[in-house]
Structures are given as C-alpha cells and as structure tokens.
Symmetry: C2
Subunit: 535 residues, 2 copies
Amino acid sequence: MRRWNGWGDDTITYPLHASALRFLEQRVGPGAPPGDVVFADAVAQVPPSRLPIHPLVSPDPADRLRHARGQSLPDWVALRGGRIGAFPDGVAYPASDADVRELIRYAEAIGARLIPYGGGTSVVGHVNVGQFAKLPYSPPTLTVDLSRLNRLRRLDATSGLATFGAGVIGPDLEAQLRAAGFTLGHFPQSFEYSTLGGWIATRSCGQQSLGYGRIERLFAGGHVETPAGSLDLPSFPASAAGPDLRELVLGSEGRLGIITEATVRVTPLPEHEEFRAVFFPTWEQAQTAARAIVQARLPLSMLRVSTTAETEITLALAGHDNLIAALESLLKVRGAGDGKCMALLGLTGREGMVKAARHEALGLTADHRGVHVGETFGKQWHAGRFRTPYLRNALWELGYAIDTLETATDWANVPLMVDAIEAALHVALAETGERVHVFTHLSHLYPYGSSIYTTYLFRLAADPDETLARWQAMKTAASAAIVARGGTISHQHGVGADHAPYLGAEKGALGLRAIRELCAVFDPGGIMNAGKLVE
Amino acid sequence: MRRWNGWGDDTITYPLHASALRFLEQRVGPGAPPGDVVFADAVAQVPPSRLPIHPLVSPDPADRLRHARGQSLPDWVALRGGRIGAFPDGVAYPASDADVRELIRYAEAIGARLIPYGGGTSVVGHVNVGQFAKLPYSPPTLTVDLSRLNRLRRLDATSGLATFGAGVIGPDLEAQLRAAGFTLGHFPQSFEYSTLGGWIATRSCGQQSLGYGRIERLFAGGHVETPAGSLDLPSFPASAAGPDLRELVLGSEGRLGIITEATVRVTPLPEHEEFRAVFFPTWEQAQTAARAIVQARLPLSMLRVSTTAETEITLALAGHDNLIAALESLLKVRGAGDGKCMALLGLTGREGMVKAARHEALGLTADHRGVHVGETFGKQWHAGRFRTPYLRNALWELGYAIDTLETATDWANVPLMVDAIEAALHVALAETGERVHVFTHLSHLYPYGSSIYTTYLFRLAADPDETLARWQAMKTAASAAIVARGGTISHQHGVGADHAPYLGAEKGALGLRAIRELCAVFDPGGIMNAGKLVE
C-alpha cells in the first residue's frame, strides 16, 4: 500500500546504520521523533463534499485525503502534523478522453475547479487545493486522477514511437515498452509513482537525460482536452511550421487542460550499460572534468558530480564500512589527496560506442587527477536509484527533515551559484541556533551549463508550524539567491505554487502576460488548476 | 555585388557541362532562354514612397526593389518577368535596439506595417509586400533590414555561449567564432546570406543538424523588440519553469516583433571532420541503412541519402566523366548492381569518437549492401555545398526552372510519402504536355523519422504567368499530398505566405487560435509582418 503521508510503498524501509546516525547527530544535533497524526484522524478532518453526485466522481473522504497533497516538505508537514487545511471535494477517475471531456463540462456547469493529478509526486504544490483560500469564496474542487489512462495504445516499432494513456506510471510504461524491446529512458527519482502526463506538464528530467534527453525531447505529440476544445499535437520528427505548440503544453502544469495521451520517442533496449565512479581531490577538479566531458560531446547517458560534503554523506549513509575503507586505501595509493568528490559516469548503448566513450571520458577525468575506481559505486547507485526518496521517511521518523532545491545556470556561473545557494541555506537558520547540513551535486549536465541540486537537512521542531517556518526561511533565502544570480527557478521540479512568486524574474512582465493569455485561450473560465504556475 | 533577381554573388557562375545539357534535354526537352527584364526597368516600376521622411528610413527605389522579394520560385518569376507588383515604401537599417524601438513607434504613429528582413533568402514569401493587396486599403510598408546588427557582442568561452546581433549572416558569424576557436555548426544552404535572426524566426535547419542540432537547440536566448515592449529570453541550459517562451519566438516569422540579439550555443572547432560516400543498389536499402544508423544513435554530424534519380542527376551535373567511370567500375567489381543510391555520411569531432562512429556506421551500411567509396564525393559535396543554389541561375538562363519542396514524417510513413510527393509532381503538368524531372533525398534524419527534400525541374514558358501557373499546379498538388499523408507542411523553410493555407491542417483550429492570440499579445495593432504565418 502506498504511504498516505510519506514516500512510497509502506513495506519498503530505508534502515540507517549506526554510523549514519552518529553522522547526523554530529552535524545537526540529536533528533526527536515527531508526533505525527494517524490516518483515521486525518480522514476525520475531511469535510462533506460540496459536489453534486456524478458517476465518475468519488466523494470518499479517504480518497480525498490521499489526493489533497503532494510530496513537498510543506505537504509532509501538513499531512504528518494534521494541518492539511483544504481537501478536494471529490476525486474522479476517468477512463477515456470522453470521460475527461464530460468532467470538464460537469465542472463548468457547477462552477467547480479541476486539478489534474498524475502520481501526486509534485514537490512544489502542483496538486494542492489550498491556494483557493486566497479567493473571496472557495469554489468546490475536483481532482482528476488519470491513473486509469495507463495503456500502451500504439507502438510504431519502425519509427520508434509509442503512444500511451498519459496517466501511465514509470514502471508500467517501461514494462510495456520492454516487452517490445524498447525503453523511453526517462527515470526521474519519482519514477515509481510519477506519470507520463505529469512529466510533460512539469518538464521533467530523468537521471539519464544526458543520453535520452529531457521529456521535452522525448514528447513527440499527443492529445489534450481543454475547456475550449481538443488539441491534437502531431508527432513530426521536426517541423518549421511556426511556433511549436508542444512547448506550450510542456510545463503547462494543468493550466491549459488535461493531457490524456502522449506519443513518446523510444529507443531500442541498449546492448550495454555501465555506471562508473571516479574520485577527484577537489570540487573544482571534479567540476572542470565534468565540464570537459560534456563539452567534448561524448555520448554518455549520465554524469553527476558531488561536492566533498555530498560525497561524505553518501558514503556515511551507505554504511558499507569495509567498502569505504578499501576506497580510502585505493585513493591513498593513487595519491588522490585528502578531499574527495565523487563523479558517476553512465555509459549506455552499442558496445563499440560505449568502449570509445569510456576511453575518452576516463582520459579526461585522469587529466584532472580523477581516480577511476570501477563499477562498484555505480552499481550501488543504479540499484538504489529509486530508493533514495525512502530515506526521507526514515529521517523524518528520527526527527530530521530533508529537502532539495535545484536550478540550472551557465557553466561560468556554476561555482558561484553553488556557493550562493549553500551560503543562503546556512545563514537562514543562524538566528534560531539550529544547524543545517547542506550538500550539492551537479546532476544534469549540458555542454553550456549544468543543473545544481542542493540538499539540506535540519531538525524537526516539536511544533509543526515551527518546522514549516524553518523550511520557509531556508527556501526563501535560497530562491532569492538563485534569482539574484540569474539561475532558473526550476530545472526539473516545475513552478506549482511554491515557485510561482519567482517566475516573473525569468519570464518578464510581457512573458508572463503571454502565458496568462495562453491559459485564457484554452481555459477561458479559469477552471484548470487555477493559482498554479501563474496567478 | 549580390544579384538582384537571382541567387548570390554575380561574379559566381555555375557552368554546366555538355553532358548535363544533354541530360536536361532528354528529361524535360530543350529550354529557351527567357526574356528577363533588366534592373533599370525594374527600378522604374517602383512607385513614390508614401512614408514621411525619417533619418533611419531610405526611400531609394533601388533599395526598395532589392527588398521587395525573396528567393522563392514565384519571387524569381516576379523579378525576372517584371511582375513585382508591390514594393516596400522604404527600407530602414537600424543599428541598435533603440533604433528598432524607434522604428516600431514610427510605424505605429503613421499606420505603417513592418517587415523584418534578414538575408532575404526566404523561399516561402516571408519578406514580400504583396499580401496586403488583400486588404481593402494598402497601408504603407517599411522593410526593416537588420544587416547592421551583425557583431559578436559577448563570448562566454567557459559556457560555450556567444551573443550576436541578430542580423549577422552565416559567414560573418562563423568567422567571428572561428577566431575564438568555436563554431555554431549551422549551415543551411542559404548560409552565405541568411541571418541568425532569420534562422530563429523560421526554425532553420543546417546541413549538419544531425550533429549540431536544429536552430531550436542552438538558440539559447535573446532579445526581441515588440510593439508591446521588450522580451528578454535568458540563456539557461534548461528550465522546467513553465512553457518555453523561446519556442514562441522560434518560428514566429516576424509576427511577434523583431529579434535584435541572440545567444547561441557554440562548440569548440572539431579536431577532425570527414564526409564519406556509400552507394546502395536500391533506394529501399539506402533508406533502411540510414534509418539503422540514426536509430543506433551514432554520433554522425550528417547523413543524407538520395534516390536513384537524384544520384543520377547529381553525377550528371558534376560532369566529372572520369570520376564517374571509375565509380561505375568500382561498383561493378563490388557487385553493387545496376541501380545506385548515394548516401553521404558526415563525421565530426574528436578523433577517437569519429573512428568508432565510422566503424559502426560503415558496418551498418555494409549490412544493407552499401559500397563505401571513400571521401572523394564527400569532399566534392562539402566544397560545393553553398554553390548548389547558383545552379538555379544557370538553369534559368538556359530556360529551366528548378524548385524544391520539403516535409518531415515518421519513418513508417517515409517511403509512401516520397512516392506520394513525386507522383503528385509528375501528374500536375500532365495536361499541359510539359514534362517534369523529379528527384528526392532524405536530408535531415532523426531516430523517429526523416525530412524529405524533393526537387522538381521543368521548362520555363515564354510567358512568365504560364511559368507561374506550372509551378502553382505542382506546388499545390505536392502540398495537398503532404498534408493528406500527415507530413508537416515544412521541416525547414517555414510557413510565410506560400504555406499559410496548409498550417491549419497541423495546428488545428484551437492551435491556430492560440498562435493568433499570441501575436495579439505582442503586437496588438497587427503591424508586424501581417499576413504571414497566420492571417
């Protein structure tokens, strides 16, 4: 069963080793387990539904609780602290485009708002009802759960194009493709629950985007049901016929309509795949080597580099003391110095090309004093790559909150941006006397810049409101630092409610106006996920 | 000096060998040189300007003639036949963003229309004034020539980002980058005259797009002056912050405003580059091998495959009888059969990667009975790649018209689409008794589909109106075939005036409405290149 107030399947845990606990206590102090509310008490908070009966709509309180929030830290505080506030008035489970059109007409007829819901994994408030509190009245809200639109509808193996119902989740999508010898290659950390439609609506980026591309490159076309009518996006390999309407749907965050079907560009399953680790003496050398690799346009499928602090906590949490001791000896023998920054390189594809790319890439890492330590850490990363979010549950239950922030910027700006974000997070809690542990990696690299992914770990307060205040102080400080230094407010999580105040900084007043007018073309009544992306 | 009524520098000619002339006579019959009007007579047609005097605006008739038309076949018929019809009332040469803003204000104040002008190389009527004839009155028109915005303004060598004035032409852009060790790698056939801003506004695609990407991937950000204000597009490596506004400017064809500055993603000059030819016995084998190569995601910089008919005319026009005889012997020895379809493979980058990609690619061509004949034909192609448009001049002067059509579609649809386009062109002139010679190549290949580029050659009539009628019959038939079979109306030339009637087929009514509303956001008065892209 899926956890109602945390990440993932409730039979899966992420046990922490004693050494990891010691590490946390040293860094931010001892944690105290929180007094979370239980499911039955949360369900009891759900008010009566204000929606008229409809065969597609469930007014069940448990359904409505399970669709009330996403996976942001404020969502966790709300769910676990019993401060959920607003709930959808119903949850609909359409099974066809016609059902979706019917739900739009139903909402229009009764003055309800619609919130499209994929996997509920948003970390920026995409699926929350709460924002309507800003309105003078609070209209009824219907969450549209797309999980029944989950089939492979067409596969054109000649062209490498697969058409799915947009509510398909990552594992089901990959399983249906694998049966035909293909992969999409889109593996965001939320993969187990997030959906194809959600990836498109939020401009998702998978862990192997360096090889397979972001969802923008994978999304060939599809079908969107909007209040103003249906929009069909044909799946041309490329087109010069005017502005690309796919790019309006990408990142539309439910504001234009509901994506019901998507055609994606798939790749034959790779002949070979490997993940290798290289350790660098310094962060500067690690970054420079990584930049050299992407600027050499080597066909890697993944590249990520961690700061010294992230490398340290990664090894501490892994808890394999013998392995770490062996690593230390190896690095000492190779003269890698005291510090260490881990880089992971993914190589995917035909044997011949992997061999050539490995040779070139390891040559470049060696140029920057990188020590290649083989596939052990890479295999570990790959095996656990969808397990990391479960760590949030384990930490929470020990009294610790963990959250992430991300941006992307030009290479010339990367080192200063990392420093600015980390400094902002360190300073934000200084007055409270609380410590925060901060660490960063570059997770998605481009020839012309990189995403920056910063994690911050701090203690829960006894009072959930105080925990939220700590988060808010850090989030605000870091977002201000990102905007001030010219980074995007989001490389991969989207805008939602949490980043909406910062969108104007990158779109400009005229750009925001264009986005608002676009919403009005497709959704003249303003019923679609109002309050998200743009006000 | 640039030709006023044809392609390119008037000191450059494209002499045709006797064997090429024989080939043309055999295929479409003997040509009769046309009675083109001379420059002085065309200038004499230019009416007085209706624009009030402004220091940035030239009312010079020769200037206005030289900016009245692009490079489409209807443009050539108009210019050479002395049927130009409409001229801009003036040509402005802004030297700064402030000048562009001033010109927009000037146009608004006097009720004039603006036509942005880059290199004037459009083949679909982007820069023509004529469409205003449809209005009940004909407003004065000012063409804004952006050639003075042609400097490299900033180069961030660390990030591989270069910022240019958007009026820079291909050779000047590459020369400024080469001096710093970089290339953009964007080489459309119009490279000698077309501009960065024009590439963006029309979604241009260069000959090595397989390696460097289309202009959509190269355009990182920039600055647009619109009647509603300035739009700044920041150059993030990637962003998940809502719809991508760059994608509205890409393909905007002057309807939203004037692109004054663009930041592009540049690549270090390659260590190595080579172009190799492979001959296949049949078109089917050539296509299948090409598809296998792109679907294997091999890092080639170019791949194009020609039909038997195109291979034949390419060799006939090249006129190197000894070389062709040597080729015939080689193919015979290798057992390649009677037919031949030429494929060209471009390999660009680091020596190690080129070596691996060459090995893999030639392995795949051999799997489909391709015979690799080395670099001779590839070198010839590379040396002459911007000379081919000059062939249009030579043919015209012998009494022949030559034009091209293009689309893109999924791989599964490619063979039928090629047949459908070629059949439509062959049939269109059947009633007139005129013959048309048709040939095709796949010029830009993707893992999931390909562009299709079809050339048709026919005789000029004594009466220019009859030549235009022949073209119109073929263009209409082929465009209808493209739309009927689900191809895009343009993979690389844009929409302009000529393709506007077909845009609705791919955007849909709701999509077209969204594009129109976007135009209205940026250009509420409808003064920007009205009548192009969407009515």
